[in-house]
């Protein structure tokens, strides 16, 4: 069988040479690999390795900043945290009075979702970064921040709620006035406070009701203390005695009067205000707002709303907190003090 004619012919085939033809290129072998293609990137730079271009020069600090900003949406926790840390140090260590590497408005959209981040360390790092941001610039960004903070305050996970409250108290400290005046900032945020504290309805405010129903929080007392402190700050900013602001305003007008020549008086009131969005209350381009999403710009408005909608619930909650005693009771006294001042001041002069 092995020595058949067919077999022989097959063997012969291996030794046959391909015919060469005049005017044609040499035939390619069977296992020829075409390597003629070159990518454009390869032509420009020195080496291309796995789509990552290596440059001879070190990246500039601004490009590094932008890179880390883009890494904020990375999948791994540690990556996000490290990027945040890098951003914080680069902001904090920049020369005094020099501008930020990127404007706050550009940075915020990638920062904000991190308020709801699952990882604890990421959130604490985020708070550090926020604290590092220049305070005057925050006033205009508050409206952007607040929905995320509110979402955090009603989150299922207890630690996310707590860090959201921390962010809120930082916001009130830096830009209290704009927090309570911006659209939805007053009613909605107060609602969130009540739901975090569980003070909405009569039965849920009782001490026997299970307050740990949503999310599991290890230490019951500590977080509540923090929330109460934040509430005190918030109420103070919203309906506290406006002495401070009055005097500021006064000094402002005085300054203005001084700058205007004699026949003009109180001209400053007729000028366009210098805030970023002076006509925001007209809501020209946004969604129509309901009562909850409305802007309450004066203390008078805020107090009226507070008195009708929240005062009974807050008083009831404070009472039960005081009765609970301990650290919580002590913390509640801070809120009580603010509340008393507000009530004594009343709806306004």
């Amino acid at each position: 069988m092995g020595s058949s004619a067919k077999r022989k012919k097959e063997k012969q085939k291996d030794f046959q040479k391909p015919k060469l033809r005049v005017g044609k290129t040499k035939a390619k072998p069977d296992n020829f690999t075409d390597t003629s293609f070159r990518s454009k990137a390869e032509e420009n730079t020195a080496i291309t390795l796995n789509q990552q271009s290596l440059h001879v020069a070190a990246p500039s600090s601004t490009s590094q900043f932008a890179h880390h900003l883009s890494l904020l949406s990375a999948k791994s926790d540690s990556q996000r945290r490290e990027s945040l840390a890098h951003l914080t140090t680069s902001i904090a260590s920049r020369p005094v009075n020099s501008p930020l590497p990127q404007p706050v408005g550009v940075m915020l959209p990638s920062l904000l979702p991190l308020i709801l981040d699952a990882n604890n360390t990421v959130r604490t790092q985020l708070l550090k970064l926020l604290r590092a941001l220049p305070e005057p610039e925050m006033e205009d960004q508050v409206a952007q921040l607040l929905p995320y903070v509110r979402a955090g305050m009603t989150h299922l996970a207890a630690d996310i709620r707590m860090s959201a409250v921390e962010v809120l108290s930082w916001m009130v400290e830096t830009a209290g006035e704009s927090v309570v005046t911006c659209a939805g900032g007053w009613i909605k945020t107060l609602n969130c406070f009540l739901s975090v504290l569980g003070w909405h309805t009569e039965e849920s405010a009782r001490w026997s009701s299970h307050r740990a129903s949503f999310g599991k929080s290890g230490s019951q007392g500590r977080p509540m203390v923090k929330v109460l402190a934040a509430l005190a700050l918030f109420l103070d900013a919203g309906v506290g005695q406006p002495v401070l602001y009055e005097s500021e305003n006064l000094s402002d007008t005085e300054d203005g009067a001084a700058s205007w020549p004699f026949p003009l008086c109180q001209t400053a009131h007729h000028m366009v205000t210098e805030s970023a969005a002076p006509y925001a209350y007209l809501n020209l381009f946004g969604q129509p707002r309901d009562e909850e999403g409305e802007m309450y710009e004066t203390r008078e408005d805020r107090y009226r709303v507070f008195e009708t909608r929240f005062l009974p619930a807050v008083e009831r909650g404070l009472k039960s907190a005081r009765e609970e005693g301990g650290e919580l009771g002590r913390a509640s006294s801070g809120v009580t003090k603010v509340l008393k001042e507000a009530i004594s001041y009343g709806p306004g002069p």
């Binding site: 959209p109 709801l116 995320y148 996970a157 949503f214």
Partner: protein, 744 residues
Amino acid sequence: MVKRKLGALEKVEADLANLVFARLRSYIEDFRAQHYQYESHREIFMAAPTSATDTGIISLRDLIDFISHVADCYPEILKDFPQQLIDMLMQHHLVLEPDLREKLVGSLVLLKKKDLLDSATLLHTLFPILISTPSKTLRAFIFQKILSELRNANSKTTNHKLNRTMQTVLFNLVTSDRTSSKGVWAIKLTRELWKRQIWTDAKAVEVMKEANLSENEKVIIGGVRFFLGGDKEREEMEDESSDEDAVNPGRVKHQLTINKKTRKNSRAAEKALATIKKKERKKTQPHLLNFSALHLLHDPQGFADSLFSKHLQNTKSKLNLEHKLQVLQLVSRLVGLHKLHIMPLYSYFQKFLTPRQPSVTSFLASLAQASHDLVPPDVLSPLVQKIANEFVSEASAGEVATAGLNAIREICARQPLAIEETLLQDLVMYKKSKDKGVMMASKGLLGLYRDVGAQMLRKRDRGKEASMGLRAGGKQEKRFGQQELGGIEGLDLLEKFKEEERRKKREEKGLPSDAEDDEDENEDDDWAAWNVEDDEDSDDSGDWVNVQSDVEIDLSDSDDENNAPPSKKPKSAEDEAKPNAETDQEANISKLATTRILTPADLAKLAELRTQASVDALIPGSKSRRAGQSSTARHTDDPLTAEEIEGLAALSAGKATREERIAHAKEGKPDRSEHKSREAKRKERKQEQGKSTTNKEKARRKNFLMTLGKAKSKNKRSLVETRAVLKAHHDRRKRGGKRGNAGT
């Protein structure tokens, strides 16, 4: 790390939904927190709808899902929740991510189910998105939701209000912008609902009618297809649903007694019995009378006119030939069905009637469909002449001549005056053709004219019956516009049946006695008895019945005694009635219906006979088929197809595949399973019934290796052992098996 946490939180939320259902009041605080969460996420989303919504652990989608599931528990907190979802969907459906989009649609449907949203609002939300979204998956999803919503709304009783608003929306969609292809959705929806018999009214047909007159090709063809095939689809759907799964109630009950009693089994049995009961109830319900779409058309003349002038006559119409043919088919069906007059239609046909025209058989079929007995012969005869000249000649191919002859026959079946005498006689000569198709077609034409106009044929072609009829003067040529007297279909069958019955009875009684003499008396007795047993509902006065019984008996008499001696005839009461009855079938038929009250039993029998006749007509070789030509057997609603025009040529090797030919050959034959031995059939039947095989079979099937040991040991048996075994075998045989059924 993150993943584990996420799972845990999702679980919390899922639990929360269940907890909320269980204890409404105590979970209100938690629910409120979730609602705020949703509100703030919504705010974030509305500020930037394009950016990713999957922020952190919980996404907006999950929140919407949760809230819509428990929405009915807290109506006061959620009073504007549906509106928010609607706004979100309506404003941003173009940029939403697909998952969220579908979740929104699904949640809206869920809210509708919980009665937090009414059907009309839901449909008004979904429908604009259906016709405007570019996403195919979303369209499919929404279409299905709309359909199921409409079905649900109409499941208990017909929701007229909703149907009317929806139909108005569809109507406006079709009529508002005639050039856009959005009307396709109106067509799809209407067709689907028509198929399921949810919409069966004229308004739905009106929507389709408007679609036909649109300017978009897709919409036009969709509409035309609906009119040509929608009703058939509906019938098929009905058949399908009626014979879904036949469950034998006896078997179900029996199995329930035998099998192990589990909850699952009993539930299955209950379900089966419930379906049976439901089916029974359905059977007893009065059958819904559904008109076909073509009959529900308002102003068919105007519709056909505008269809013709817009799509066919108009030289600027963009339809291609295939689509034009479909439109033509529709127009011609309308003309034939409603007997409309569109004179330019016939001259339009003129230029297409050449053998070289692509798909000319469809044109021929349409022409035949478009002719009816109120079309003036002057209009049709040039067309017939042209067909004869172009198609039918000795030189032309067999298929061509067949098609021409068949077309002429179909036209003439509808308008016998369309052909001239000489032409007819020429065409009839083709019955001697060598080509089988041509020969059959020509004979068909001949047979037709023996029925409808025998005097136009040459004398030797007329045949026995026709020439006898002509001589008696019964078969008059119908004149233009002459209408036949109406009758009840199948009444003659009923009468024949009754006659048979009576004859049988008479023979039973009459044979022992002298049949010839006492026949009248017998008949009277018969009549009385028959009257009592059959007419349950008639308590009429006796003499009224008697008078008319005389007539009937006389008629039967005359039929009966065709071979009886003529001396009997003068005995009967009315002599003059007889020749009339013999010659004129019409009078005979009408008498039964007008002089007798047809009992329900009669009507049932009538229906039965009618179906029997139609089945008989389908079975090849039966006499009724040869007698009744295809034109008479066909219902007026059925379309005439190109295949019928092509005749035998459709079967020829070049055109049909093998499968088609086999299918055609099998057509009409009763179902036949493949050939098998009786044993194999028996085995199959046993297996079907879930029974086991015989011992013999088991022994034969047994694995060889298993039998080996016994076979070996058999060799080693001692004589005594062998004897014992044989004895035992013998005994068993005698007893009749191991258990023995012979002894006792």
